[in-house]
Amino acid sequence: MHAIELMDVSKQFKNFSINNLHLTIPTGSIVGLVGENGAGKSTTLHMIMQALKKDSGTIHVLGVNNEADEFLDVKQKIGVVLDEAYYPETLTTKRIRIMLKDIYTAWDDDVFDHYMTQFKLPYNQVFKDFSRGMKMKLQLAVALSHQAELLILDEATSGLDPMVREEILDIINEFTRDERHTVLLSSHIVSDLEKSCDYIAFLHEGRLKFMEEKDGLLERYRILKLAPEEVNALTINQAAIKGQRVSRYAVELLVDIEVLSSSETVFGDLEKATLEDVMILMTKGVKQS
């Protein structure tokens, strides 16, 4: 079963569009949504939550069409952590809890208190005096205090120090120990995604470039480094080249070794590609023969 399913979703803005997006998030997994600024990650997350209406296509979340009236009940089961915590700045945590208790039917004070203690967050300090790390921790505490089955995090770890990021990632991993729990996480910090995700979905200019299991992805791609003058002499199955980065002294080719195995050319050492390599080289463009 899929926790989230986007079929043929499109959304048109003045200078940007999401085009025929197909994306499925398997239940029980942590899926990282990556892409450069403006690739459509936040737009996609907002469309999933029906905070932004799509132009066409269908979106199902936890088995319910997000345009149906029942989607409000589904939203009760979704914990959201946005890139900023958008609570009015004069509120204290104590008051945020009182307010949210009325919004989330399954709100659990004990769980909230547990995370407040774990994160060492104050109850009576006004929100504007919180550091960014504290704000994000509060959002996470809220997201986990109403028996959510799905967590959606939009750039939740950006701007945080490594210790806080680690703490947040640990909680996310802990959350998915229950196999009914799913996490969809967008981030610029690719190392965070590499550390915790089961799947990686890569968005580029409003299109899904790929969605693959992280381990398989990292096994599949290699970096082939060449001197610029060696490129023309290269006899390689062109379909294996998925991206490239050219500098004055070297050319780096992103090579899909599954396709490469059909080529007759045998290469020596190919460097393992990181997720960041895959992203950067793919967006730089595919080598033209």
């Binding site: 907002h46 939550m49 029906q50 905070a51 932004l52 209406k53 409000l72 009940d73 939203k75 009760q76 979704i78 959201v80 946005l82 900023e84 915590a85 958008y86 609570y87 009015p88 700045e89 004069t90 509120l91 008051r95 009182i98 307010m99 949210l100 208790k101 009325d102 919004i103 989330y104 959606i152």
Partner: protein, 209 residues
């Protein structure tokens, strides 16, 4: 909706304290058009809640929560009605005290006069609030504030001739008649229902962009 109302009340707590002091001050001034001014002032507070929301970009978070659009809209109207209601009760008590303690002759016949005066102002305020709300839902607080200024000024000047009528007319005039009160109530109800529907439409349209 209760959660949203609580959020607004918590956010506006400090302003509410100031408002209460100002209202009590205004209530003690023996001029009938001060009632209008005070009630109009009362609607500034709920409207300022939009400013706080915009500053915090609260809407982005709220749209992620399991809150029906209808509740989002209605909570702002209920907030406005509650403020106007609260201020009206204070004004009525103050006006009663003002009459009772001898600043003017207190007769049974004089009650309807100030009662009608307050009721009229309350419903005028509700009409003003209802006119403003769709603009704020459509354009946001910044541009909506400009519209608010214009509507507030217009309504304030409208209260002046009515207060003159109040002074010059006898108790049996149309102003003090139940029919007049019912007409104002009816107009206010119609304008508010239309306003809520329009606000819902504008809010829903904003989800598209």
């Amino acid at each position: 909706m209760k959660g949203l109302l609580l959020k607004d009340i918590f956010t506006l707590e400090k302003q509410m304290r100031v408002l209460l002091i100002v209202v009590v001050g205004f209530a003690l001034i023996p001029a009938s058009n001060m009632i209008g001014f005070t009630v109009m002032y009362a609607i500034i507070i709920p409207i300022s809640s939009f400013g706080y929301d915009e500053r915090a970009k609260w809407d982005r978070l709220m749209r992620m929560m399991p809150i029906p659009e209808r509740s989002i809209i209605l909570s702002k109207y209920v907030l406005g009605y509650s403020f106007v209601g609260l201020i009206s009760v204070i004004m009525l008590i103050a006006q009663f005290g003002y009459h009772a303690f001898g600043y003017q002759d207190l007769t049974l016949a004089s009650y309807p006069a100030f009662l009608v005066n307050v009721i009229f102002m309350v419903f005028m305020a509700l009409i003003g609030y209802a006119v403003l709300m769709p603009f704020i839902f459509k354009f946001g607080m910044e541009r909506g504030r400009l519209v608010f200024g214009a509507v507030f000024a217009a309504l304030f000047f409208l209260t002046i001739p009515f207060s003159m009528i109040q002074i010059s007319s006898s108790y049996g005039t149309f102003m003090a008649s139940p029919l007049f009160v019912w007409i104002v109530v009816l107009v206010s109800a119609v304008v508010n229902v239309m306003s809520i529907k329009l606000s819902q439409r504008f809010y829903s349209q904003n989800t598209n962009s």
